[in-house]
Every structure is written in C-alpha cells, then in structure tokens.
Amino acid sequence: MDMNEIKEIFFQECEEQLAELESGLLKLNDGDRDPETVNAVFRAVHSIKGGAGAFGLDDLVSFAHVFETTLDCVRSNKLEPTQDVLKVMLKSADVLADLVSASRDGGGVDEGRSRGLVKELEALARGELPTGGAAEAPKPAAPKPAPAPAAAAPAAPAPTDESGFQPVPFSFDDEEETIVPSVYEVTFKPRRELYAKGNEAALLLRDLTRVGEMSINCDTETLPHFDKMDPEGAYFSWKISVKTEKGEQDIRSVFEFAEWDCDLDVKLAETTDEELPMVPVPFDLSALDDDSASEEDAAEDAASIQAAAAEAVAAAETATNVSKMAAAASRVEKKESQAAAAAAAAAANAANAANSAGQTIRVDLDRVDRLINLVGELVINQAMLSQSVIENDTTGTSSINMGLEELQQLTREIQDSVMAIRAQPVKPVFQRMSRIVREVADMVGKSIRLVTEGENTEVDKTVIDKLAEPLTHMIRNAVDHGIESPEKREAAGKNPEGTVKLTAKHRSGRIVIELVDDGAGINREKVRQKAIDNDLIPADANLSDEEIDNLIFMPGFSTADKISDISGRGVGMDVVKRSIQALGGRISISSRPGLGSTFTMSLPLTLAVLDGMVVTVAGQTLVVPLTAIVETLQPEASSIHSFGANQRLISIRNSFCPLVDVGRILNFRGTQANPVEGVALLVESEGGGQRALMVDAIQGQRQVVIKSLEANYTHVPGIAAATILGDGRVALILDVDAVVAASRGQSLKQESSLKSDMSLAAAG
C-alpha cells in the first residue's frame, strides 16, 4: 500500500466525516442539544484535522483547527449553539468540504471566504468567551491569560495555583546554530483539552526521549486537594532538559499535534547545570497511573464541586470581560446540569466509536458488478433449465420439478440480495442539497429551510450518482423562483421563512422523490404568455392547468424576469426532464397558486434491469422499455388514414398520430405491415411528440437484465441494448427515441440508414 492509496482512504474517510459533520450540525440547527451530537460534530472535525496533519495539508489543518476550537466552546457549553452560530458553522463545514476536495483534486478555494470564516469562528470563540481564543495564539508571558485553562476546566477552585507555573520570558539572543550538543529547557504544561482529545502526555514525553538525552521534572504543585480534584482536569506540568544535537524545531515537532492544547516553551539553556527548581526524577508512568486511580475516587465528589466550579468560571469571566457578566451568570445554571452529562457522554463516546467500526467494508464497485452479472446469468440459466425440463416432462410432478422450483426461489433471493449490495441510501445526495439551499438562499437574500424525509431510502448507486445533477437544478429553481422573498411572504400572511421539502420513498418497485416548496406556485398566466412569446404554443391554444404547468419542461423556457446567476437561463427544467428520462424515470409537476409547487420524480431502483414489454416484430422478439409506452391499442381499419405517399396516421380520440412500422424502420421487412393485424404502442419520446409504433404482437411484460451490444459489436441504430430472455435467446431492446427520430420524415430515415450503410462499408 503506497502513500497515495493511504491518502485516498483518508479522503474517503473525510467524506464520511464531512457527512457526519453536516448532519450533526443540521440536527443542532433543529434544536437537538444532545451532547453526543456535539461530540460527533467535534470528532468529525478533529479526525479530519488529525489526518490532514499526517499528510501535511496545512491549509486544511489550520482551518480545521480554528473550527475545532470554536466547536470545543460549544462542547464545553461556553458557546450557545444558536441559529446564528450554526449558520457560521454550516458555512465552515462547506468550506472544510471545499478544502478537502481542493486537497484531493487540486484547484483553488475561495480564499476570501475561508479567511472571513476563520475570523468569524475566532470571533465566536473569543467574543462569547474571551478565554477560548487564547488557546490558539502562542501564549504570551503575561500572567493575565493564565486563567484560560482554568475556565476550560471546571475544577478551578484555586485559580491562584495556576500562577504557580508561569513560562518566564527568556531572551533568545544567544540562540545560535551550534553543532555541539546543546541543552534545551522544555516546559510542557498540558491543558485539559489535550487529554480530552485523546492525547497522552506520557507518550509525548516518550517521543521526546528520541530527540536526545533528557531529564524530566514533574511539577505536581498545582494538584489540588483530593476532594477538590476534577477527574478530567490537567494538573501536572513537566520541566524537561534535553541534551540534543537537533534544533528547537525538532523538539517542537514532537508536540506538533498537541501544541494548541498545551503550554509549551522551548528554550536554549545557557549552561547545563543551571539551578533546576526540582530534583530530577526518573521518567516513570506510575505517577500518571496513580493520578487516574485517584481520579476515579474523586468522581463521586465531582458533582458536589460543580457548583463551585461554575462560580469560579463565572468569576474568571467577569475578571476578563465585564461586559459578558450577565451572560456568564445566566450560563451558570446550565453548566451545573450539563457538565455532568457531558462527562458521561464523553466516556460513552469512546465505546461507541469502537463499536461502530468494523460494521462495513469497502469493496471495489467492479467486484460487485461482476457478482451482479454472474447472478444475472444464474437467473437466466435457471429459467432455461426450467423451460427445458417442462418441455421434456409431461407429468410435471417429478422431483426434478420440485427441486427446480426451490432453485428458482433461491436464485430470486440471491438476485435480490446482490442488488441490495449496490443499493445505497439517498442521504449523501440530500445532504449536498442542503448546502445548495443554504448558498442559493444566501445569494438571493431569502431565508429557507430544507426539510428532508426518507433519507435512508435505498436505490442503486448509479441512480444516486446521476440524481444529483437534476436535483440540484430543481432545488435551485425552487429557491430562486419557487419561494418568494421574505417581504412578499409576510405580505401574503406566510411564515417569512420558506420551506423546501425533499422526500424519498419506495413505491411499487420504484423510488419516488418529491420536492415540495411552499412558495407562490406557478404563475400560469405568465407561463402561458411566455410560451406564446417563445413560439412554443400557438397564441390561441386552449390548455388545461396541468398542460400549462408542464410547459416549463419545454426547451428554452424561463419565467424569471431577470436572468440570475442561479437559474433562469432557460436551460433548466428541460435538462432536468431529459436527465430524468435518461435514467428511465418520469417527472411531473403539480402546483397550487399561492401555496406552492410539487415536483414528483419516479425513478427505477436500478439501471441494471429494466421493465419492458416483450413484442414480436417480423418474427423477431424485441423489448420496448415500459417507461416510454403511454398506452397500447388495437387499431381498427377505420381509424387508419393514409397521408401522402407512404405515411399513415392513426386517429386516437380525434387526434392524429403518425403510425410507425417498427419492422420497416429496423429493416426487418421490405414493405409496411398491415396495421390492422398488429398492435399499436403509443409512445412519448424525448421531443415530446407522440408516435404510434406498430408491432405484430405483444408477448407480455417482464423485467430484463440489460446487456451491452457495444462490448463485442458496435452500436446499432434504433437499438438501445440487448437482453437475454428465458429461452436463452438474445432479444434486442428498442431505442424508442431513435426510432421516433428516424420516423420523422423520409429524409431523416434515409439519412440514418445511409449512415449505417456507411458504417457497414467501413466495417467491410
């Protein structure tokens, strides 16, 4: 496994963490105050920071760090996660995602935006609680900020103890590059956060031994009396003198991942035997063990000291920021109840994290596809076997028959389970949408809530991948055009905050995705006028409300008065419709003026199989995709009308529709068949027009596994793909759009057959 592979895994994990982060923030936004949620958010950012640090992605690390610091304020209940705070955080999550993808694929990030957010985040951390900000900046020697760690740790009953250890500024003038082993004096005082983030002072110290010869003094002065001790507090500090040939930088790099969470001071000692305040003791872990043992004992007392601690925090705050006094006082109550809960949750976290790992595996998609293909073969083979047994067995009661039935059931189950491997919840796509809503709403100055439902509805991965683009278009449209401005909404007596609801659910073997907005609905008069202006419909056309609504799916249509960055170039909804249709789906709209619009998309659960109608044309078996068929009918001689030289129209409920002989178009027969002897399939094609396709007979309806023709042959005009039927024969799947296009006038048809002749000539 080389570095790139490891990096790739890191990025994959980043995506998961980002999803976790966003869903956590959204939960908080909805009023969830579960400490576990806050912890999950914090963990996500922290993991990204940690991984990014390992790969030297400095931009990512520094942004994640600032974000983490602010989140930590929320986690320790110093910062109330209000809507405004969360807005900044959600934006930060977006920037973090951008930074991750920029690190992965290269490319730039909006520097201004991320810098602005860094400031906002820092302001949040500092503004609400000034001590929080001190954690980032390299600590100045001034004694004033010393209460910072005290505020972070509830156990600060004796803040004066903190001043017992102060990094004294030394002059760095004599710091020269020397090759002779020099002695550095390192003072290392971990803060409470260091332990909270899973770092361990002993391990850091052990790493330090690799830099050079060293002696360690542990300063236990700040350790409070047993009954006043906070089990999660940090009390020890170390004074280490390291004799090394390496520079200060190497010593600092040992603390690289901890430097934000500890007070670290590295300086060159003038002489080796400078008076040390304490006697060197051997580096021993037992001191730490004792500490943790006593922590447990102290846990019982912890609750009783909470009140005192909270007071101390409030006191510390007042001292540093008088203006925040009132706020701090109001928070005191909250802290008392929440601090204990947070401590319990933190312990539970570790257990949860261990449990959740190992429940999923990453599998290459190709492997899954190969398995799906093989199972497809198995199903076909099983059908063939059954058929030949039935043909040869007249009694139909033999044990072979019964065995075959069981086999059939098993293969069905195998197929379903294998298909389920590819099925993925739509959650990631929905989550991406919430970002789009946020950004677009910001851009157009609207306040919009996205509500998602049924995020865990599963659908084939290919469908999910292809769903994002049309959905993005529709969401943008809904935010830009659907929802009115807050002023208009208020005037109409609605909640100024608009709601866009995205729902996914399973309906009869398909996935149905609904996008509902509570905006103004479609302005039918305007849509109609626009369609007339753009020559999409005749001026005197008599259209039903539904037909008018569906006009927005016509190519080249936009009702927005002004073209905006977001939507309104007239390439919107027709593109959406086309991409949904390409997925074998349908889209419809219903709208109520003043109340909003609903877009309903219905998509197949997988692209590997297709619902088709099996038909016979000139002795050949063909499959017509069911999604294209509007209705089937048996033409009567009286409804067939000749039109021109060799065109025929069929009248269906008083409208005339061109009749297309599939057998003739595909060159299966030389002359047109008699329509009365066959069946007409009324189809709707991409262009919107209806055509009646003539076939000889309908065999039935069934699900077929799609097989590529291009793999071993070449593209065949009029044919979309192939499939294998139960009898083991290959059947061709009709490309309805191509057939309809070819039938549009004789010239087009000749051109297409000419083209295929040419390709044959090339092949020959």
């Binding site: 042959y713 070449t714 044919i719 024969r729 290959v730 295929s756 390709s759 090339a762 020959g764």
Partner: protein, 155 residues
C-alpha cells in the same frame, strides 16, 4: 503444457484448421477461446450481410460472423453440424461460423509459404500464408484484418 513450451521453444506454433465449403483455412490457436455448436442467432437490423446476428454466450452478447460470406464466398446456410469458433479479435470476442473444425496443426515458420500473387484485393488482405499438409492446401488467416477497429467503424 510442456508440449506447447517445447514447441514454442523451437519457434513453431499451433494453428486450428477448419473447413468452409471445399476450402480449408486456419487461424492461430492463441486467438481461439472456445469452439461450440451452432445456435440460432438473433438478427440485427441494419447489419452487414455477413453478420448473422447475436447469440447468448453465457450471458455475453456475442456477434456471429458468417466467415464464408466475410471472405467473399457463398453465404452459409447453417445446420446443426456447423460450428462456431469463438475468437478474440483485439479487445472483442466474435463468433466465426464455419462448416467444421478439421485439425490442430503444429507448424514452424518454414512450413508457411508466402501467398502467391493474386489479383483479388480481398484475398491479399486476409491471407497471411499457405500451408501444404498431406497434399491439402490450408490458408492462414489474419483475423485482425477482417475486423477493423471500433473507432474507424464508428466514424
């Protein structure tokens, strides 16, 4: 395996010989995947006359080429006695319809005689050499020349 290795070491190769009408042809055995009996193919619209259609080869859609027609001879009328040689041509797999597979030949380069000067473009295009074995004449075919690249076809 050791047999093949020995032969390869001596610079010889193995060929599969088959019969179309009264002529015999052969192709390099390395391009042949399998040999199977004739099954009815599903016709393709707008296909060249020598493409008989497609069949199901364990789930893959396999185009069947009437080699007789492809080589400019009479179109085959397939019977159950006909054979399909499944061959790999570049990155594709095609089925070649022939009358019967007659032999597996092990030949060295000295056994292969050059193609005599003939006027027909088609024969010169696919024939790579002629073998004389037991008074029979067997024509060595280069399959790659019979089925050009996808890209040129698509153009």
């Amino acid at each position: 395996m050791s047999y093949a290795v020995k032969n390869l070491a001596q610079g010889s190769r193995e060929l599969i010989a088959f019969r179309i009408g009264d002529q015999e042809f052969c192709v390099n055995i390395m391009s042949v995947r399998e040999i199977r009996g004739w099954t009815k193919a599903t016709g393709l619209p707008h296909s060249p006359s020598y493409v008989m259609g497609v069949i199901n080869l364990r789930g893959a859609v396999l185009p069947i080429v009437d080699l007789s027609a492809r080589l400019g001879m009479r179109r085959a009328e397939p019977t159950p006695r006909h054979v399909i040689i499944v061959a790999q041509v570049k990155n594709r797999v095609v089925g070649l319809l022939v009358e019967a597979v007659s032999d597996i030949l092990t030949v060295t380069d000295e056994n292969i005689q050059p193609v005599p000067e003939v006027s027909s473009e088609l024969e010169r295009q696919y024939a790579r050499g002629i073998l004389a074995i037991d008074k029979r004449m067997i024509c060595l075919i280069e399959l790659d020349t019979l089925f050009p690249d996808t890209d040129s076809e698509a153009a």
